[in-house]
Amino acid sequence: MNRVTFTLNGRSTVAVVDPHKRLIDLLRDTLGETGTKEGCGEGECGACTVLVDGRAVNSCLYPAPEVEGREVLTIEGLADSRGKGLSPLQQAFLDNGGTQCGFCTPGMVMAAVDLLRRNEHPTRADIQTALTGNLCRCTGYVQIFESIEAAASATNGGES
């Protein structure tokens, strides 16, 4: 077993994990943070997207022991970081129908956080490229793109 110390959504966190576990196992099973979803488990669908040291990664492909000393941001950390309510990006998904069954949504939102931190005013093409690794089987993507565009135009980036 490995003991890992890392920052989860701004809070210093210590956990004991099997060395062969993945970050998504650590988040969901060990720490009970079930906002992050597992879809394919092979890095194809993006439902498990979280930010590690500020970059979007597939938590199903990320070895849990590798988070030692790193900063992890999950969907739970967006609303919490503001103290109340949803983040503007999350609210934009709600207002623009960017969510339907909801399973892909946490990954979509986290991928969009990564995009908007790097590019405050993305074009539609930028958004499509940023979401290449995120599958949605309900919406047809249009409302998701519109949600991200709305968040970007409402603020200087949906998260802040």
């Binding site: 490995n2 099997d18 060395p19 062969h20 993945r22 488990g41 092979e42 890095g43 194809e44 993006g46 997207t49 970059r55 979007a56 990664v57 597939n58 199903c60 492909l61 990320y62 070895p63 022991p65 590798e66 030692e68 991928a111 990564d114 995009l115 490229t129 940023a130 290449t132 690794g133 995120n134």
Partner: protein, 286 residues
């Protein structure tokens, strides 16, 4: 339950000593290995992570010589303006590889060591005549990338050896490009091609052509290069080069495409990569 250890060395020496032990395997981004483990294709017992090894983490220029550390994430290479300018085919290949999430962790060293015949970065690096730096506890050696792959999933790496860097020389007057066909963006290539040319006085003085996903390894097409060199980069020359591709490749049929389809599209990809490279070399694209 599998008993694995996961170690995080911070220096090359520590990584080589740890990785040289029985049952150890190096892992960098892990985007291939984690999937292989899940599907039972990898029975690895002890993983040695390369993500914190300082000597593998840099992009360094010395004049026109570029050294890319094996564990630099692809996103970092793709964001490098000078690499985009001097090695556009590599930047294009990286942009075509996987998703943002994959490129944030996957590495150039990992893409080569996984040794998929379809590895997107391989044809581009072959066209640039990349050299591979390999280290073990006894020292380092360098091999050409065209000697690195020995078959699907296999390379010249010996147990305990580690690919430490990819070495490239920029050819300032060259034009180069990468082309790829996939079913969708997030899929392995059905076929890919990269080309590099230098043109002087309407004559092709230097040509390098490589293809992916159509042979047991990524493949340099020397016979195509010979057709191009010394000739005017015009329609008849390109037609001859395109016609020579078929005899050099040995594609298989798999779930992505039939061998017959790959034989039809690969010459087209080669011709398109050459056209883009010629256009860049002659300044048409600027």
């Amino acid at each position: 339950m599998t008993t694995l250890t996961y170690q995080r060395p911070t220096s090359l020496r520590e990584a080589l000593e740890t990785g040289g032990s029985d049952g150890a395997r190096f892992v960098s981004g892990g985007t291939d290995l984690m999937v292989q483990r899940r599907s039972g294709r990898s029975g690895t017992e002890n993983l040695v992570s390369l993500r914190r090894v300082e000597e593998l983490a840099g992009i360094d220029w010395k004049n026109d010589q570029l050294r890319i550390g094996a564990a630099v994430p692809l996103a970092g290479i793709g964001a490098d303006q000078r690499i985009a300018r001097d090695f556009p085919a590599l930047a294009q290949a990286i942009a075509a590889l996987g998703s943002v999430q994959i490129r944030n962790v996957a590495t150039l060293g990992g893409n080569l060591c996984n040794a998929s015949p379809a590895a997107d970065t391989a044809p581009a690096l072959l066209a640039y005549e990349a050299r591979i730096e390999i280290a073990n506890t006894g020292g380092t050696r360098t091999v050409g990338l065209d000697e690195f792959f020995t078959g699907p999933g296999s390379t010249v790496l010996q147990p305990g050896e580690l690919l430490t860097a990819i070495l490239l020389d920029a050819r300032q007057s060259a034009g180069s490009a990468f082309m790829r066909l996939g079913r969708v963006r997030m899929d392995l290539a059905i076929a890919s091609a990269a080309a590099l040319v230098e043109i002087e006085d309407n004559r092709c003085t230097h040509a390098r052509v490589a293809v992916g996903a159509v042979a047991p390894t990524p493949l340099r097409l020397s016979a195509v290069e010979e057709i191009l060199e010394g000739k005017a980069p015009d329609g008849p020359t390109l037609a001859k080069a395109q016609a020579a591709v078929d005899a050099l490749i040995s594609p298989i049929s798999d779930l992505r495409a039939s061998a017959r389809h790959r034989r039809r599209i690969t010459p087209v990809l080669v011709a398109r990569a050459l056209e883009a490279a010629i256009s860049m070399a002659t300044g048409d694209a600027q």
